[in-house]
Symmetry: C2
Subunit: 201 residues, 2 copies
């Protein structure tokens, strides 16, 4: 059953990743300790160190996984057919992704990883690629419909920031209640759409 029949445990690397992910979902980053994780996997405290350089490396691996999901979602959702609905659906999907995997989302964008140049090269690569895909597909969707002298990259940054900020407020439970998700997200979509079709200034 193990893909590449490994040594003692069989497939500790993947087992650790899986177990870490459920532990993350259950208890959040602050509840994810290497020792607890090792115990769940049935190995000694320091066994994980032969598969991940340190805790940060494991967290980065988790975040990388999540980013690849997000990237896939971006490419699936933002196909070049009808900009209006595409963008609306994307925002809804993005909000769903974040609210259904709050701990993963926190890890992906939180300071735990992105403080002081700790993110892995692999993580940086896929994180930036995800955003680039978003920017590219958004530019394609809005080609010709964007007012003159409007940099599409800036539009991508600003619109991502909007959805991202909403996710953070939702996840952290500040200012926005869980029950308001629908109305607030609709309002945010309206905000973005308005800016995309007719910005002032």
């Amino acid at each position: 059953m193990a893909q590449t029949g490994r040594y003692h445990h069989g497939d500790l690397h993947d087992t650790l990743l899986q177990e870490a992910n459920t532990l993350l979902s259950e208890q959040g980053v602050e509840g994810l300790s290497l020792r607890k994780l090792a115990e769940r996997a049935g190995v000694s405290r320091t066994a994980p160190y032969h598969h991940f350089r340190d805790k940060n490396a494991l967290l980065c691996a988790l975040a990388t996984q999540a980013f690849s999901q997000l990237d896939e979602m971006i490419n699936r959702q933002l196909q070049a057919t009808g900009s209006q609905e595409s963008i609306q659906n994307f925002v809804r999907e993005y909000l769903r992704f974040a609210t259904e995997n709050p701990e993963q989302y926190e890890l992906m964008f939180g300071r735990t990883i992105w403080k002081g140049g700790e993110p892995t090269d692999e993580l940086k690569t896929i994180a930036y690629r995800s955003f680039r895909h978003y920017a590219e597909r958004l530019a394609t969707l809005l080609a010709g419909r964007l007012p003159a002298r409007t940099d599409s990259l800036r539009v991508a940054q600003a619109s991502w920031a909007t959805v991202h900020g909403l996710c953070r407020l939702l996840i952290d439970g500040i200012y926005v209640n869980r029950e308001d998700i629908e109305t607030v997200s609709e309002q945010s979509i309206a905000l973005i759409m308005a800016a995309l079709s007719q910005p002032s200034s």
Copy 2:
């Protein structure tokens, strides 16, 4: 010199708050330990426990301080004179506040405090009051200029989310470079203003 001449140390409570704030600025939340703090204040490891119930209480006190600054800024910046410039200036000031005190901002809105109902009543009060002030003043500024069937509370939530998201991306160093602050913030301001003056949907 001590305001209310206290016992042994003189004024440990305030000294701790001050020292904790500089320690926060220097090393971030993850570098703020009670033991380091106690040593800086020249007292024993457990001395702080007679002034703050636990570490969370101290962090909440720090966040409360920062929120009172933010609240004051909101009230100062969003006075009822010319909605356009007022809002633009507010956004600029908000971004300045967040980027100049990144660790404080992180603490104010981060999961460290707002996870699992840990925030102090005092903190919750001032945090919600700040937002209420923003919503009220925004509603006043936009009175009559908002399209029909647009809840001003939703507008407040969506616009705050935009600026908040931008701050997070900036602070955590994801997707938005420090050098792009000017252009991106202008773009975000444009996004908000467009939505406020003529939303679709």
